[in-house]
Amino acid sequence: MDGVGVAIAETLIKIVRGYLFAGLVFSVPFVIFGIQRVDPSVKGWNVLFRVLILPGLSVFWPLFAVRLVRGKRHPVERTAHRLAAQSASHP
C-alpha cells in the first residue's frame, strides 16, 4: 500500500490509542475516588472489582465523566411497562 494508506492507518491507530489512554487517565482516579458518586452500589474497597471494570471505563469514560460533572447517578432502565406506569402517574 502507498504512503498515504500507511499514514491513514498510523493516524487512526494513534487516535484509538490516545482515546483509550485518555480513558485510562480518567478511569484510574475515578474508580478510586469518584465511582461511588455515580453508583452508590459500589461499596468497600474491592480492588479486583475496580480493576475488572477499568477496560470498560477506558471505552465509556466520557459517559462517566459527564455523570460525575453533572452529579448524576446511573439511570433506571426504560421498558414499555415502566414508561406506561410513569405516564399514568404523571399524565
Partner: protein, 363 residues
C-alpha cells in the same frame, strides 16, 4: 443482586461450569494440535497454535450463540445460560491469544500470535502492517480478511469489558443488551474472516462444510426461536371498558408458576402461589430475563436466568436488595357456582410504578 458488587460472583455451580468450560477448551486445543501435527508433521508449531486458538474461539462462539435460542425453546438449557458471560470472556481471550499470542512472565505456556507470525517482519509497526499489508480492499476473494477479524475482536473486547453487573446497572439492561447484540455483527465478520482466510489457504471440503453447517445451525436456531417469540408477542390482549384484561382462568396456571400474556406493549407474568394471584412485568431488572418462565421459590418470583428475586405482591426484591419492577392490579371473577379453578383472572392494563404493593387476588 445489587446490594454491592463483587469482583467475580463464583459459587459452586459457577465454578463447576467454568472448570468444565476451561477443561473442554484445553482438551480441544491439545487434540487440534495433536491431530494437525499428525496429519502433517512438517507444519510449524506456531502456525498450528494460531489456528488452534482461533478455531477454539470460533467454535465456542457457536456454542455461545446457540445457548440463547435453545433456552427460548426449552428451559432445560437454562443452566447453560446461567454463566454464559464467563464463556464469552473465555472466548474473547482465546481470540486475543490467536491475535497477539501468549507470553506472560512465569507462565510456561507460550504461543505466538498471528500479529507477530504474519506482520512482524518489516519496518512497519505490526499493527499498521495488519491494516495495510493486504490492500485488495476492492476485491472479494482477496479482501483483507484480517480486518474482519479485527472488527470482531474489537466487538468481543467491548463485550468482555462490559460483562460485569456494574455495566448492566450503569448502562441499564436494555442498552447493555443492545450493545451485546453486537455479537451477531462479530459472528458475521468472523464467518467472513474464516471464509476469506482459513478456507482459502486450506481448501479441504470438510472445513467448508463445517463452517457452512455452523452458519445454517445458528441462523436456523434463531429463526425457529424468533418465530415463536413473535407469535407470542402478536397475541396482545386489549382491555375492556373498565381497563382490565381477561387473561384466562386460574386452572391454566400451575402452582408457583406463571402464565405470560402481552399487555401494554410488553409481557406480563401472572403468578399463582399460596392460593393467590399476582401479576408483574415479565422483565427482570437484572438482564431483562423472562420472569414468567421462572417460579415462586421461598415466596419470591425467581428469574430463571440468574436467580434474581422479587416479592409477587410488590415487585420489589427482598431487602437488602433494591431491584423493583412494575406491578399490575389483579381481580378474579366467576359465576360463584363453579369450581374456583374456573374463575377468570383480570389484569389492569396500566401498570403500577415499580415496587408498588398490590393486594393479590385470593382464589
Amino acid at each position: 443482586m445489587s446490594v454491592g458488587y463483587k469482583s467475580i460472583q463464583w459459587n459452586r455451580q459457577k465454578l463447576i461450569y467454568d472448570l468444565i468450560l476451561w477443561a473442554s477448551v484445553a482438551a480441544y486445543i491439545a487434540i487440534f494440535m495433536a491431530v494437525t501435527k499428525g496429519i502433517d508433521s512438517n507444519l510449524d508449531i506456531r502456525g498450528v497454535q494460531i489456528r488452534a486458538y482461533g478455531s477454539a474461539a470460533f467454535l465456542l462462539l457457536h456454542v455461545i450463540l446457540s445457548i440463547g435460542p435453545l433456552s427460548r425453546l426449552s428451559p432445560k438449557f437454562h443452566p447453560l445460560l446461567f454463566n454464559r458471560r464467563h464463556m464469552g470472556v473465555t472466548m474473547f481471550f482465546l481470540a486475543l491469544i490467536h491475535v497477539v499470542g501468549l507470553n506472560l512472565p512465569g507462565l510456561p505456556l507460550k504461543t505466538t500470535g498471528a500479529l507477530t507470525w504474519y506482520h512482524d517482519f518489516g519496518n512497519l509497526d505490526p499493527l499498521v502492517s495488519l491494516f495495510v499489508g493486504n490492500s485488495h480492499y476492492g476485491d472479494f476473494i482477496q479482501f483483507p480478511f484480517e480486518i474482519l477479524g479485527v472488527g470482531a475482536l474489537a466487538i468481543f473486547f467491548v463485550m468482555a469489558a462490559t460483562s460485569h453487573d456494574f455495566w448492566l446497572v450503569n448502562l441499564t439492561a436494555p442498552i447493555w443488551k443492545a450493545l451485546h447484540m453486537g455479537v451477531y455483527v462479530a459472528y458475521g465478520l468472523l464467518v467472513g474472516h474464516v471464509v476469506l482466510g482459513a478456507l482459502q489457504s486450506n481448501r479441504h471440503p470438510a472445513m467448508t462444510v463445517a463452517v457452512g453447517v455452523g452458519l445454517v445451525w445458528i441462523v436456523g436456531l434463531h429463526l425457529l426461536a424468533g418465530s415463536r417469540e413473535i407469535k407470542q408477542d402478536k397475541a396482545t390482549l386489549s382491555p375492556s371498558d373498565d381497563g382490565f384484561v381477561d387473561v384466562g382462568t386460574v386452572a391454566e396456571i400451575p402452582d408457583n408458576r406463571a402464565k405470560v400474556v402481552t399487555i401494554s406493549g410488553e409481557r406480563v407474568a401472572v403468578f399463582k402461589y399460596d392460593g393467590k394471584i399476582s401479576a408483574v412485568s415479565n422483565v427482570c431488572q437484572h438482564q431483562n430475563g423472562p420472569l414468567g418462565e421462572g417460579k415462586v421459590i421461598d415466596g419470591c418470583i425467581t428469574c430463571p436466568w440468574h436467580g434474581y428475586q422479587y416479592l409477587p405482591d410488590c415487585g420489589a426484591s427482598p431487602p437488602p436488595f433494591t431491584e423493583r419492577i412494575p406491578t399490575f392490579d389483579v381481580r378474579l371473577a366467576g359465576d360463584g357456582q363453579g369450581p374456583v379453578e374456573d374463575q377468570r383472572i383480570f389484569v389492569r392494563a396500566i401498570p403500577n410504578a415499580p415496587g408498588t404493593h398490590v393486594d393479590p387476588a385470593v382464589i
